[in-house]
Amino acid sequence: MTLFDSVLALLIAILAWRSVTAPDLYRGIVLFITLGLMLALSWARLDAPDLALAEAAIGAGLLGILLLSTWRVLQRAAPRQGSDEPASYAVRWLAVVGSTVFGGTVAVALYGLQVGSDRAGAEALASLDLAGIDQPVTAVLLNFRSYDTLLEMGVLLMALIGALLIRSPLAYEPWHGDTAVESPLMSVLAKVFTPIVVLVGIFLVWAGAYGPGGAFQGGAVLAGAGVLLLLCRRLYGDADATLLLRGLLVLGVTAFIVIGLLLMPWQGAFLAYPPGLVYVLLVVIEFSLAVSIALSLLLLFTGTHAVRAVRS
């Protein structure tokens, strides 16, 4: 496998380099998506299947699609604006020197790193049976370091509010040259793929309790199902959100906070779960997180307050 690893590492370095120095934006984006594929592979190699799932769904998948769509918008809005003016020669050379020194330092530091066994992670693995969930990463996310996850949901919500404030939604409407709209295969895609994507998403959320998967990966896949429907013109972005929709958006973070605060007087600490209920509570939290993540990512994609079904 050493050969495999070396080729993979080399490919990652080359792809990153090419993506940054690509002469035009589109090539940069395409190479970035390919880099995502390789990163997922390398994370699988590095014993992190959870992260490979996340990279496939969020990093390479949703982000790649969003980058492509944004590139299309820019292309349409300012067709001449093919490329940016490069930085001056001196700046580039300084940057080359600076980044080489920086990268070299990181590499030397990483190889000299003495990793001890006396770590928080070892303690996490040892206290798994107290966490109420077998899968170590999910246990860290929802129990040992649940506070991080809770605040992270806040970050997601704020990024969404910010995107809504900018009022630059991605609108998929037919116009001259949008050849895909009238293709009959679009409806095949919507009909065949969507249910499968939704099922895979729900499965991944559920799987988080005992194997790789979890609210983030599953939520991102569910958001992917929504994006698919948008691209196939089954859904469209809309300006008015109902209370229900907003409720689902904040469901994850609210459930987390309310459960934590309600149990605090009895348990003596915020987000401490009573041993008997821990599994049930974690499943409730995980599914509410997944719903909120899916909707937030979908709305971050469209940049609108709501999505609605197209009535045909």
Binding site: V115, A120, S146, L151, L243, V253, F270
Partner: protein, 481 residues
């Protein structure tokens, strides 16, 4: 009950903001004001408890470090929470003016502002390196949408630049966290110190990334480019919060790291370098402030300059410097919030902030001009004001350690501040007849005028409240005296 107060200080405003988003414009402005009042009450109780019993800790989920995350309210956290509560209360009242009526705009303002308040409290209370990364992102991503509230057309370029720098800074910080975890096997501020002190390349790199990432977020020269356009174009209430609290949060982290996890690092060179950056920020920011043609940009560049003073702690590094740097942060926070709110009133009245065309404002806007003047005294560091006490403490620290060059920096900085402030006062307020007007607004109401004035008064009063505040702060961590 006391040990639950840190949690409530974070989650009252956070939950309040989330519910405001959920409810839309229903409940405006009663709901956010009630949440703000509760938050202020909770913070006051917490600060009181810290003052009488010393620091309060709360292990979240009942998991003690290194496995879990700790909230910790110590002296430094308490004074920052207090500053946030004071400025937050004033801004919440002020915002009733521009954002009091039910509208989508107002909904977003209150939701984001309460979320930002909760995020700031979370940042000050956090005692975990990775958790600090998440709270930094929370603060950034609630601050940038607030900037956009001024209307996306004007602020989008500034917001974009702000976002890019903030993202890069926090990722650099995260790299430092990653290496620190590799070295120490823990993320708790109190536990990573020994591993970072070993002096190896990895430890140095980790410390460098932690400091560098926070410096980018703190808008220290040369990473300041995003600050003036962002702070100069945001709505007044938002500029006040950004300058008084958000960038201060990043500098707070520098002080925190230097005295706790990085305390074992023998870094006289780094300390002098940070001091030099501070001096550069003071000179550059002041000179730029002097050259601006818009009132808000003067105040924004003044923030770039004033942040530099807090960095002078690093080379001085004695008890008095600690007191001086922190007290400077507090005094500047109060004074700068007052300046931005007063400026907001000017803009609301005449519809622009072009310095040369703001003449004779002292009659219609007496209260706001008064507030501007009071706050300016503190910014210039004249007695009796909070700014004076802070600079005096820093000056005596420079004398005590025999580093006269920092004393020179302090004195020149004060003179430069006086120059740009007096230029503003001369142009804007003391030349009759009346101002050129773009869009004539109403004379600002009491809710808009008084918060600025009270903050200005407080900036002066802080010249007399140094002793109890510094007692609460509790001296330089690790110092024997």
């Amino acid at each position: 009950m006391t040990e639950h107060l840190p949690v409530l200080a974070v989650f009252l405003p956070l939950l309040g903001g989330v519910l405001q988003f959920l409810l839309g414009s229903r409940g405006l402005p009663v709901w956010p004001l009630a949440v703000a009042a509760l938050t202020v009450g909770c913070v006051l109780l917490l600060v009181g408890a810290v003052g009488s019993n010393g620091s309060i800790e709360h292990a979240i989920g009942g998991w003690d470090p290194p496995l879990g995350i700790r909230l910790r309210a110590d002296g430094l956290a308490a004074v920052m929470l207090l500053l946030t509560a004071v400025v937050g209360a004033a801004v919440s009242v002020y915002a009733l003016g521009p954002h009091g009526k039910a509208s989508p705009q107002a909904t977003h303002f209150w939701a984001l502002w309460l979320l930002l308040w909760g995020s700031l409290n979370a940042l000050f209370l956090s005692a975990d390196l990775f958790n600090i990364y998440v709270t930094l992102e929370l603060v950034t991503l609630s601050a940038i949408p607030l900037v956009l509230l001024a209307g996306p057309g004007k602020t989008v370029a500034a917001a974009l630049r702000y976002l890019q720098f903030a993202l890069f800074g926090s990722l650099l910080y995260l790299l430092g966290v990653a290496i620190t975890y590799g070295l120490a096997g823990s993320l708790d501020l109190a536990l990573v110190g020994p591993a970072l002190a070993d002096g190896g390349l990895a430890a140095g790199l980790a410390a460098g990334c932690l400091i560098g990432g926070v410096l980018v977020k703190a808008a220290i020269v040369p990473c300041h480019v995003w600050l003036p356009p962002a702070h100069g174009n945001a709505p007044a209430a938002v500029s006040a919060v950004l300058s008084a609290l958000v960038v201060k949060a990043a500098v707070y982290l520098l002080l925190r790291f230097w005295t706790e996890p990085l305390a074992g690092l023998s870094g006289t060179l780094v300390a002098q370098l940070l001091g030099a950056l501070g001096a550069a920020a003071i000179f550059y920011g002041s000179i730029q402030a002097f050259r601006q043609e818009r009132l808000k940009l003067v105040v924004a560049y003044s923030t770039v300059a004033q942040l530099g003073y807090m960095l002078l702690f690093f080379p001085l590094a004695v008890s008095q410097a600690w007191d001086g740097a922190v007290y400077h942060g507090l005094a500047h926070g109060v004074a700068k919030a007052s300046l931005f709110l007063a400026t907001g009133n000017v803009i609301a009245y005449v519809g622009h902030d072009r310095l040369r065309e703001l003449r004779g404002l002292d009659r219609p806007l007496a209260l706001s001009v008064f507030a501007f003047g009071l706050a300016s005294v503190s910014i210039m560091g004249l007695p009796p004001s909070g700014g004076f006490v802070a600079k005096w403490l820093l000056l005596s620290a420079a004398v005590e350690t025999g580093q006269w060059w920092w004393a020179v920096v302090l004195i020149i900085g004060g003179l430069l501040a006086a120059a740009y402030i007096i230029r503003v006062l001369r142009y804007a307020f003391l030349q009759a007849p009346g101002p050129a007007v773009d869009v004539q607004g109403p004379v600002p109401s009491a809710v808009m005028a008084w918060p600025a004035t009270l903050l200005g008064l407080l900036a002066i009063l802080m010249g007399f409240t140094a002793a109890p505040t510094l007692a609460l702060l509790g001296g330089l961590p690790g110092a024997t005296s």
